[in-house]
């Protein structure tokens, strides 16, 4: 298993502790404590996943997240001390795939990291279509009329999950479990924000979605192809 994890955190004790836990689980952690140096460290380390604290000296976590996301689709998991909706949503909207609220259990963190890394392991040759989109699961590409649309791995997974069973309405909880790998903890904000982000990329008119349709009171489903 690939396991390079970049830890962006200014608290040295926590960073060291994270290092101990991650190494214990077979990952290769690298560390950076400053927001300004985070991007350079990211380019150097080429990690498979970024653990990003939201409150950093220099550039704050939101900004760092945006910069990383601008040049890479690598999974980003935010570490946040604030569970208020605003903070969480801002973090997710800046491009994070998942977040974990301090204080967390090491097992929970590792489970989240594994869930984010797992998806890239089993590419199966498969061709799906949803609306006027053509999805090549193995090639990890989404095309509309030959034009490819850039999606992060998580958004891609979300789209694939919906497209695989176009007849099914997915509740947010089911999506959390299938895409994020959650077993319990129902934080549907995660789903909402990512569906919005996905829509902003794949819909012709994000205000009137045709690819990812909301089923009021239940959840989401793939639009008719």
């Amino acid at each position: 298993m690939k396991g390079r994890v970049l830890v962006v955190d200014d608290d040295t004790a926590l960073a060291e502790m994270l290092g101990i836990v991650l190494r214990g689980e077979g990952f290769e952690p690298s560390f950076v404590a400053d927001g300004d140096k985070a991007l350079a460290a990211f380019r150097d380390a080429k990690p498979d996943l970024v653990l990003l604290d939201l409150m950093l000296p220099g550039r704050d976590g939101i900004e760092v997240c945006r910069l990383i996301r601008a040049e890479s689709g690598v999974p980003i998991v935010m570490l946040t001390a604030k569970s208020d909706t605003v903070d969480v949503v801002v973090g997710l909207e800046s491009g994070a795939d998942d977040y974990i609220v301090k204080p967390f259990k090491p097992k929970e963190l590792v489970a989240r990291i594994r869930a984010r890394l797992r998806r890239s392991e089993e590419p199966t040759p498969e061709q799906l279509s949803i609306g006027d989109l053509v999805i090549d699961v193995a090639g990890h590409s989404v095309k509309r009329e030959g034009m490819s649309i850039a999606l992060t791995p998580l958004e891609f997974d979300l789209l694939v999950a919906l497209a695989r069973k176009p007849w099914q309405v997915f509740t947010r909880e089911v999506l959390l479990e299938q895409v994020w790998g959650y077993r319990h903890a129902a934080d549907t904000r995660l789903v909402n924000v990512h569906v919005q982000r996905l829509r902003s990329k794949v819909e012709k008119d994000p205000e009137r979605p045709e690819i990812v349709v909301t089923v009021r009171g239940v959840g989401y489903k793939a639009g008719p192809s």
């Binding site: 608290d11 926590l14 101990i20 097992k107 509740t171 129902a186």
Partner: protein, 693 residues
């Protein structure tokens, strides 16, 4: 309106009351009597009277309202009325005095004129009598032509001095004359019989002194009659026969002067009244305008526009009012700003504490977990220590999370993430999560009323937190007996009740369970290590939804916690689909055993007819929901009104009866009877509470 429709009568009365008072009124009143008397067998007098009063009052209501609300109008009207009274009084006094003055002078002048005339007449008669000697009269004493001529001359000569100032009239004495053959009246231009009043003639007959009276002179030549003073005296003619000589003084001039005075006074009075009204209006306006301005600004201040101030000019009392007002507004604004700052600081503080405390806690937590995982390699003491460390860290974490949550509520920073969700999903998740604990306790958790979706706009995270709390509490205190989670919807509300059959609640505890850090029994060991903040947070969560979280319990009979939420956010709750006191409470069962008619289970399951006008009318369930509820009563609990702990709400007797039927508990009456014995409702055998807003 048809005269023979008896059924429509009450409704029509209501319609008619809006019409203005008019001819129709008598008709419909009659009709009312007609219907009442003939078709209903009795005349209802007082309702008609009341109706009539209402009819009269209705058009006056806006006027009365204006009168009550407008101090300017009131003061101006009062000023007008009072000044009018003063002016009228003054007018009467002045006019009376002027008239007396004018008349006094006239009477004096007239009297001297008349006295002169009388003496002239006497002299003339005396001189004529001596001159004529004995050839003037005939034997039978009839007035001769000479006397007649003489009298005519006398009248002419007497009245020649007047020339409009007075008239002279002679009449024969009523006492002596026989009317037909007597002396014909001599007069200048007046109608003597009409002009001289009868009673004066009688008075003149009786005495030889002069007598006077007021009268109206009527002129022969068609001139307008005039008020006049008449002075008369009995005088002898040359034959020594008595006749009456009258002087008539027209009061034309005096009348003219008086009416001039009257006119002047009336004009002046009118001006005074109008001017006083205008002055009052202006003066009151000076006072009222700032007051109104203050009222308007106070309203705007209370609406949140704190920068509003009054305009202050001068140094008078009004200006002082304005200054004081502005000072108050200033201080208010300052205080509010301080509080806002404080609240912001509090929120900042919570946020900072959250971050500052959580980061080291995360490190400690991770370290503890690493140690905990490695404990098999330790000696027993260290291993146990590692276990304790991990356990207590769990507890510490929960406590910290709860504290932060409640301070977020206190700071008003909690936001509702409402979304249309199916509450059954939430309930199933919660029950699934509580299963391990329930298995350990030997408790079975049953879900009732989940055959149909239960959609409501709610924050899934918060509702789940509330329910998890309730279910875990129920399992924990349920002593291994079943826990029932009941779902129901009716009207604009959905409710989830969690019922256990464990230790229950002691009287008065139903409100206290929601207090922070409150524990039912301090000596009781807590197996799940709750923080004591769970129900407080749950209550805040319910409030954030605009919902209620209420508790009911009886000692040894278990308890029921009921969460009621509005179907759509922002919709106020009017009732709950599930009664707070469950059907199988000890008291309800007791009533069932006693066979009281109103405790019938069948009645409970029926949908109550909405009673018009009843403030606490139960909510009928929506459409096809009724059948799915099964064992759950679909009736809204009409007694389930939010309040601050008070359970018994006084209601009209009619409504009371109905409630007992619909809720089937008969609790109201029981509670009231006990309440009379000096117990407050909360201290009754069954602790109940309302913790809604």
């Amino acid at each position: 309106m048809s005269r023979d429709s008896a059924a429509s009568a009450p409704a029509e009365q209501g319609d008619r009351s809006g019409r203005p008072v008019g001819r129709k009124m008598t008709g419909s009143r009659w009709e009312r009597f007609f219907e009442g008397g003939l078709l209903q067998g009795g005349v209802q007098g007082s309702p008609v009277l009341r109706l009539l009063i209402r009819w009269v009052r209705r058009p006056l209501l806006p006027v009365m309202r204006l009168w009550r609300r407008n101090i300017q109008l009131r003061i101006v009207a009062t000023t007008l009325l009072m000044s009018m009274g003063v002016v009228l009084l003054l007018g009467f006094v002045v006019i009376g005095q002027v008239r007396n003055g004018l008349l006094d002078a006239k009477v004096k002048a007239s009297q001297s004129q008349a006295t002169g005339g009388f003496s002239v007449a006497k002299q003339k008669a005396d001189s004529a009598a001596t001159a004529n000697g004995d050839d003037g009269t005939s034997a039978d004493g009839r007035p001769s032509k000479n006397v007649s001529q003489w009298m005519t001359d006398l009248v002419v000569s007497l009245s020649s001095g007047g020339q409009g100032a007075f008239d002279v009239v002679t009449l024969n004495s009523t006492a002596s004359g026989d009317g037909s053959g007597g002396l014909a009246p001599r007069y200048s231009e007046v109608d003597p019989i009409v002009s001289v009043p009868e009673d004066l003639r009688a008075r003149v007959d009786k005495s030889t002194a002069a007598a006077q009276s007021y009268t109206r002179v009527v002129y022969k030549d068609g001139r307008e009659s005039q008020p006049a003073l008449v002075i008369g005296k009995q005088v002898n003619d040359p034959n020594a026969d008595a006749y009456q000589l009258y002087y008539l003084f027209p009061l034309t001039q005096e009348e003219k002067s008086l009416s001039l005075v009257k006119g002047t006074l009336a004009t002046a009075g009118l001006f005074v009244v109008v001017l006083l009204g205008a002055i009052a209006w202006l003066v009151v306006r000076q006072v009222v305008t700032p007051v109104r301005m203050a009222a308007g600004i106070a309203e705007r201040l209370s609406a949140g526009r704190l920068q509003e101030r009054m305009k202050v000019t001068g140094e008078d009392d009004i200006a002082r009012l304005g200054e004081a007002f502005n000072k108050m507004a200033q201080n208010l604004q300052l205080k509010i700003q301080q509080l806002e700052d404080l609240s912001r600081m509090q929120r900042r503080f919570v946020s900072d504490v959250s971050h500052e405390l959580r980061t080291p806690l995360t490190t400690v937590r991770m370290a503890a977990d690493v140690i905990h995982d490695a404990r098999v390699d330790f000696d027993p003491v260290t291993a146990r220590s590692a276990e304790l460390l991990a356990d207590q860290l769990d507890r510490f974490e929960t406590l910290l999370a709860d504290l932060l949550e409640i301070s977020r509520f206190d700071a008003g920073a909690a936001a509702l993430e409402a979304d249309a969700i199916d509450l059954r999903e939430v309930v199933r998740r919660v029950v699934g999560g509580a299963e391990p604990l329930a298995e350990r306790k030997g408790t079975r958790i049953r879900i009732k009323g989940d055959q149909q979706p239960l959609i409501a706009e709610a924050d899934a995270r918060r509702v789940e937190r509330v329910l998890r709390n309730l279910v875990v509490n129920a399992v924990e205190h349920g002593e291994g007996k079943d826990v029932v989670v009941k779902l129901a919807a009716a009207g604009g509300a959905v409710a989830i009740a969690v019922r256990d059959y464990g230790v229950g609640l002691k009287p008065g505890e139903a409100t206290r369970v929601f207090s922070r850090f409150w524990r039912a029994d301090p000596a009781r060991a807590r197996t799940t290590g709750g923080t004591g903040l769970g129900l407080s947070i749950a209550l805040e969560d319910a409030r954030l939804h605009g919902g209620w979280l209420q508790a009911w319990g009886e000692p040894g009979g278990g308890s029921q916690f009921r969460l009621t939420l509005p179907r759509t956010a922002d919709e106020p709750l009017r009732g709950s689909p599930i009664p707070l006191e469950p059907k199988d409470s000890r008291r309800n069962r007791g009533l069932d055993d006693a066979g009281l008619p109103h405790a019938g289970g069948a009645k409970l399951a029926t949908v109550p007819v909405q009673q018009p006008g009843a403030a606490t009318a139960p909510i009928p369930p929506r459409g096809a929901m009724a059948p799915r509820l099964g064992g759950v009563s679909p009736t809204a609990d009409p007694t389930a009104l939010p309040g601050n702990g008070a359970r018994v709400v006084p209601r009209p007797a009619g409504a009371l009866r109905r409630q007992e039927e619909t809720s089937g508990t008969g609790r109201e009456r029981t509670a009231r009877e006990r309440g009379r014995d000096g117990e407050t409702p909360e201290e009754l055998g069954h602790g109940e509470a309302f913790r809604g807003r």
